[in-house]
């Protein structure tokens, strides 16, 4: 399978004006998404998932690394060339209220990219928008409203309709359910699956809900502190987590027994480190029995097979043998 | 609210006085301090370029002339003046006068006053770089020679009755020993123009620009000990504040009170009394006959004599004057104030006649063709700027009234209220359309020549009006010794001049000053009210805080 999207050694830093230093949000990440597959990207808030996805789609510019979409180096192009290729991949934002211009109606927001790319003209725009809205199970009369007049679920669907308007092949879904009522989540997931089949889309699903990831992705990447710490087939990774962080993540899932619920730090901010990048970044919180000096001084690299790889000095032996 | 606050005010005042009980009090009859409230600062204390009444009053306290006018204001002949720096003078022949300087007269730095000072003064006043406004009055003096230390001789080009007056009155004698080493161009901005060294009864103690000018008496002044210890001119932002200061007893004198309202306000204060005196001045609207941008070209509008006459007819002086001054003024139909000997009811005039004005304007082709209410001709509107001193509420009122009267005949006068010093800086350059001026006239008709004769261009004749026949008539009038013939020649000159309408002559207001009642011996000379102020006094029994305050 040829990768639809391929990232090589992507790094992204942010300048912190107040601290007058840089924060590395994505650190030397390599990843690839084969066409037609669904990849999950998990990790706690602030681990760099969103930044990684946005860099991947050139919504923000990476500081280093190569990004290849379907054979085209995204990091080499700009201007009209980039604008044209953007129709191939789309991004669905976490909070749909922030993702729509508050001063234009839903219909205008959906029609604009189609008009820009010549997908429709002023004459048939209305019809096309209606069709798109129907596709995401929204009634056409919602089109005349302003974003704040819609409910979260409705707006998220509109957001998907807008993404689909340019006929993309790859869809990045950035925590598409987090803004929604729990009751709406399964409907939305069903919609995703249906759309994927109808339009043969490739998905990158960002989520911290491991349950969703378990059922709706083929592969999964676990991100911690700007790096991918574990990657592999979803089933394998979630059933036999190799990295202590992945295990902690699985433990924190609000499962049947709330007593086991362990909260991971969630500051809502990028917690990437500006210094002290020498050792394993999970060192401080790692509960691994074999934690040692090597962990403190040397950063582990992602190692393993296409089925599963992990960045830990003390990989659980039986997983490795299975791979 | 006010009632509650009054006791508070009293407390505040008591604390004030308690806090300022001071040490050395002045005692005696020579302690008097007078504070004169005034709406503008002095521009410079360099006599040749002093113009504003405010500056000249201060200048006259510091600098002396050779001789001064007496109270009868006679300017003719050799007997009318009273000695100042010159103790006596003798006539050598019809074109030579010799002055003997008072040997008691010394400069405030201790140097004696010499004939060289007089000769130097003449050279400064007539220097074109200095461009003294009064220079025109000196043009019939051909030479000033120092004969010895204390004797100086004036030579005249023509024979005329006012030789003594011209020689002795216009110039305030300058200290040659301090000034003659200074380049003339430097002189105008020299330290000495701010820290003058004079010969007068007072010397400058302190001048804080924008705040006050304080003079202290020279107790050994050779003409007698000055009656007031200190004279302070306090600068206020406008006339109203000046009046407020005097009414509230924070200042002692305000001059230039011309409107019934001002006088009413002054009278409402028990400590004040109003002193009324004839005015030696007249107000006028002067046409700039040269282009405001390029003085080498004639003015596009006002080169037209008929237009000037039409505008003169359009102004209702009577109403304007009544509105602004009530009963406190008389119409001035020509550049003649009531102080002049030639003043009379039969002076030549252009009467107010609105219909005739409109007729003349129509005849000149000025019509309102675009319906905006302003006449125009060949696309050019009949519009000009009228500059006036914004600090003078009377001229401001009159300007607004006249603007409205002109509007009624389709003439657009745009008002430009300027600060006094700014006016003094721009008007003498001739860069104006119409200037609302006020001349404080010397009490002789000869002064007309400096302001309206060709000789005054570049000096006191701001509008550059020039008519050779008027010049000739004036020269002859000045030269003749026969009063009747002189008067008749003046009337001929004025007839011609008024018909040319170089200005719209408006009115001559009476002057009233309000002064604190504690001052004694208050006499006022109409040509310069402050001329005799140095003889005023405050008797010890009537002294108030500021008289007693030691310095």
């Amino acid at each position: 399978m040829t990768p639809m999207l391929e990232l090589r050694n992507v790094t992204k830093r942010f300048a912190d004006h107040r601290l007058r230093s840089n924060i590395t949000a994505v650190d030397n990440v390599s990843i690839e998404i084969p066409a037609g597959t669904r990849m999950g990207l998990v990790g706690e808030s602030g681990s760099g998932k969103t930044t990684l996805a946005r860099c991947a789609l050139r919504l923000s510019n990476a500081d280093a690394g190569e990004i290849t979409f379907d054979g085209t180096r995204l990091d080499h192009i700009s201007g009209n060339e980039l604008r044209r290729i953007r129709t191939q991949f789309q991004y669905v934002f976490q909070n749909p209220y922030l993702a729509f211009n508050p001063r234009t109606t839903i219909r205008q927001s959906i029609a604009e990219p189609m008009l820009v790319h010549g997908i429709c003209n002023r004459g048939n725009a209305e019809k096309r928008v209606t069709k798109l809205l129907e596709r995401v199970e929204l009634s056409a009369d919602l089109g005349g409203r302003y974003p704040h007049e819609l409910s979260g679920g409705e707006l998220q669907r509109a957001s998907i309709a807008r993404a689909l308007s340019v006929k993309p092949r790859l869809l990045v879904l950035d925590e598409p359910l987090s803004a929604l009522d729990v009751s709406l989540r399964s409907q939305m997931l069903t919609l995703f699956d249906r759309l994927r089949q109808e339009l043969s889309l490739t998905y990158l699903l960002i989520s911290h809900d491991l349950g969703v990831v378990a059922h709706h992705t083929d592969t999964v990447a676990v991100m911690h502190s700007a790096r991918i710490v574990e990657f592999g087939q979803t089933e394998l990774v979630l059933s036999k987590p190799a990295h202590p962080y992945t295990r902690d993540l699985l433990l924190s899932v609000p499962s049947v027994d709330p007593k086991h619920h362990k909260t991971l730090t969630s500051t809502g901010q990028i917690t990437g480190h500006s210094e002290n990048t020498e050792g394993c970044r999970y060192f401080a919180r790692c509960g691994h029995s074999m934690k040692d000096e090597q962990c403190e001084r040397k950063q582990p690299q992602l190692k393993g097979t296409a089925m599963a790889s992990v960045a830990c000095h003390h990989v659980v032996p039986d997983r490795e043998s299975k791979g | 609210m006010i009632k509650i606050l009054q006791p508070l005010g009293a407390i505040a005042l008591t604390t004030t006085f308690a806090a300022c009980g001071s040490g050395s009090d002045c005692t005696g009859d020579y302690c008097g301090t007078i504070i004169i409230a005034q709406g503008a600062d002095a521009e410079s204390l360099f006599p040749p370029t002093m113009q504003a009444v405010s500056s000249t009053a201060i200048g006259d306290m510091i600098y002396l002339r050779l001789a001064d006018l007496s109270d009868d204001l006679n300017t003719v002949g050799d007997g009318g003046l009273v000695p100042q720096l010159a103790s006596s003078w003798t006539r050598l022949d019809e074109s030579h006068l010799r002055f003997t300087l008072d040997n008691r007269a010394i400069w405030q730095d201790g140097q004696p006053v010499t004939a060289a000072d007089v000769a130097f003064t003449y050279s400064v006043y007539t220097d074109t770089i200095v461009a003294a406004p009064l220079a025109a009055n000196l043009d019939k003096i051909s030479n000033v020679v120092a004969i010895d230390e204390r004797t100086v001789e004036f030579e005249f080009t023509t024979v005329y009755p006012e030789q003594l007056f011209d020689a002795a009155y216009h110039m305030r004698i300058l200290p040659a020993h301090l000034m003659d080493s200074i380049e003339t161009t430097e002189l105008l901005g020299h330290e000495l123009t701010r820290n003058p060294v004079g010969t007068g009864p007072y010397r400058l103690h302190q001048w804080l620009p924008g705040q006050f000018i304080e003079l202290h008496a020279d107790t050994s002044f050779f003409l007698g000990r000055p009656g007031l210890r200190r004279i302070i001119w306090q600068v206020t932002p406008d006339y109203e504040s000046a009046l407020a200061l005097v009414v509230s007893e924070q200042a002692d004198l305000i001059d230039n009170m011309r409107t019934p309202r001002h006088i009413e306000q002054a009278n409402s204060a028990a400590q004040l009394r109003a002193v009324e005196f004839a005015s030696g001045g007249y107000a006028y609207l002067q046409f700039g006959l040269r282009d405001a941008e390029d003085p080498s070209r004639p003015h596009a509008l006002f080169q037209d004599r008929t237009l000037r006459r039409a505008l003169s007819m359009a102004v209702d002086r009577e109403t304007t004057m009544r509105a602004v001054y009530g009963d406190f003024s008389t119409i001035a139909v020509a550049p003649v104030s009531p102080l002049l000997s030639i003043w009379g009811p039969d002076l030549p005039r252009i009467d107010y006649n609105r219909d005739r004005a409109v007729e003349l304007l129509e005849g000149l082709g000025w019509r309102d063709s675009d319906g905006d209410g302003v006449r125009d001709r060949n696309g050019m509107p009949l519009s000009f700027q009228l500059a006036y001193p914004a600090s003078d509420p009377n001229r401001t009122s009159a300007a607004v009234i006249i603007q409205d009267q002109l509007r009624q005949v389709g003439v657009d006068a745009q008002l430009a209220g300027l600060e006094l010093n700014s006016l003094l800086a721009t008007i003498p350059t001739g860069k104006f359309d119409v200037y609302f001026g006020f001349y404080g006239q010397d009490p002789t008709p000869s002064s007309i020549r400096g302001n309206w004769g060709t000789v005054g261009i570049g000096g006191g004749n701001f509008g550059s009006y020039s008519n050779p026949r008027v010049d000739d008539l004036m020269d002859r009038a000045i030269a003749t010794f026969d009063p009747e013939e002189s008067r008749s020649l003046w009337y001929q000159a004025l007839e011609e001049m008024v018909a040319d309408a170089p200005a719209i002559f408006l009115y001559s207001p009476k002057s009233v000053l309000a002064v604190h009642r504690r001052f004694e011996n208050v006499t006022v000379r109409p040509d310069q009210w402050a001329a005799t102020m140095w003889t005023w006094q405050v008797p010890e029994t009537r002294m108030i805080d500021r008289d007693k305050a030691g310095s």
Binding site: R84, Q90, N101, R103, P113 | Y239, E240, A244, A323, E419
Partner: protein
């Protein structure tokens, strides 16, 4: 939403009435240009408010809910109506010298509600016509300042780099000199007495803070998700500026403008007071105060009345501006 279509219709009618007034002697003063500008002023003022509120009609009713906002609108409305209909409401021409000999400095009475001034002009008429002059200067100068400020701020915020550096240092320089200083220098240099030049100058010196505000807003908005989304959808940079960023900087600009009108009225009053503003005989609130300041003891009411008028207008504008600020953010308005 449709129910608010009456606003432009009313404005149009108002405009026609005001224009027609020339024939009907409704507006007996001023040239054609002046009258048009007066009319334009009020059209603009109302149109701006209408334009901002249109997308959120439900906001309108909520907008007027607080008591102070209602009072402020009432006061401002009254002043505007009186200003528009000044020729009818005044009873006298503002420049007519009614009785030069006996009618000067009359205290307030039935015949002259605010008294008369030093050349016997009716102060009530002058204050009403002064409202026109002051409001006209306020609105037009602010319109100009806002236009320039928005363009500069957008350019700086969007292009960044040296464009931003140069423009913002220029703004710093502009802001580091007191505005009155700039105004005094320019007015005196050009020795102007013309009201339009005055508007031009006030406008030209008033855009610095607007451009700073707009730049900050642009910097903030261009990082918002919906702009990122638009970029991701392949919309051109120009399209983003015009359709995504510009509409969203409008609300803070409107607030800025509303407050700015008040500030300009204050600035104009100050300039006129110093003798550099509107020249006689035309009344603006500032020139009336200046006239009165020379007779403050004899006729204190001359100074008092226009001062109160200025304060009332500026307070009302400030209250409306504050209210707009809380109302115009559509996301907030969804909640309140």
């Amino acid at each position: 939403m449709r129910s608010f279509r009456w606003v432009p219709v009313t404005l149009f009618v108002l405009f026609v009435v005001v224009r027609a007034g020339r024939i009907g002697d409704l507006l007996s003063t001023g040239t054609f240009v002046e009258q048009t500008l007066v009319a334009l002023t009020f059209t603009l003022l109302a149109a701006i408010i209408w334009l901002t509120i249109t997308p959120w009609p439900e906001v309108l009713s909520k907008f007027f809910k607080p008591f102070d906002v209602r009072i402020a609108s009432l006061v401002l409305g009254a002043i505007m109506i009186l200003a528009v209909f000044a020729p009818i409401a005044s009873g006298h021409h503002p420049n007519t010298q009614l009785d030069l000999v006996n009618g000067q400095l009359l205290p307030p009475s039935l015949a002259h509600p605010f008294g008369t001034d030093f050349v016997s002009r009716d102060l009530w008429s002058r204050v009403l016509f002064g409202a026109r002059v002051s409001l006209m200067i306020g609105v037009l100068a602010v319109t100009m300042a806002i236009t320039i400020g928005t363009m500069v701020g957008m350019a700086a915020g969007y292009f960044g780099g040296w464009v931003e550096l140069v423009l913002m240092r220029l703004v710093d320089a502009g802001l580091s000199i007191p505005r009155v200083f700039w105004l005094l220098v320019i007015v005196s240099l050009w020795g102007t007495t013309d009201i339009y030049v005055l508007i031009l100058i006030i406008g030209l010196t008033g855009w610095f803070s607007t451009s700073r505000l707009v730049r900050a807003e642009v910097l903030r908005i261009r990082e918002e998700d919906f702009v990122v989304a638009a970029r991701g959808l392949g919309i051109s940079e120009a399209g983003i500026v015009i359709r995504q960023i510009l509409p969203n900087v409008v609300p803070p600009i409107i607030v800025n403008a509303t407050l700015g009108i008040g500030q300009v009225i204050l600035v104009e009053a100050g300039l006129s007071f110093l003798g550099f503003g509107v020249q006689p005989p035309w009344p603006s609130w500032g020139t009336i105060i200046q006239d009165g300041s020379a007779r403050i003891i004899a006729a204190p009411w001359i100074v008092t009345v226009p001062g109160v008028a200025i304060a009332l207008t500026v307070v009302s504008l400030a209250i409306l501006g504050d209210r707009l600020q809380t109302t115009l953010n559509p996301r907030d308005s969804a909640q309140f």
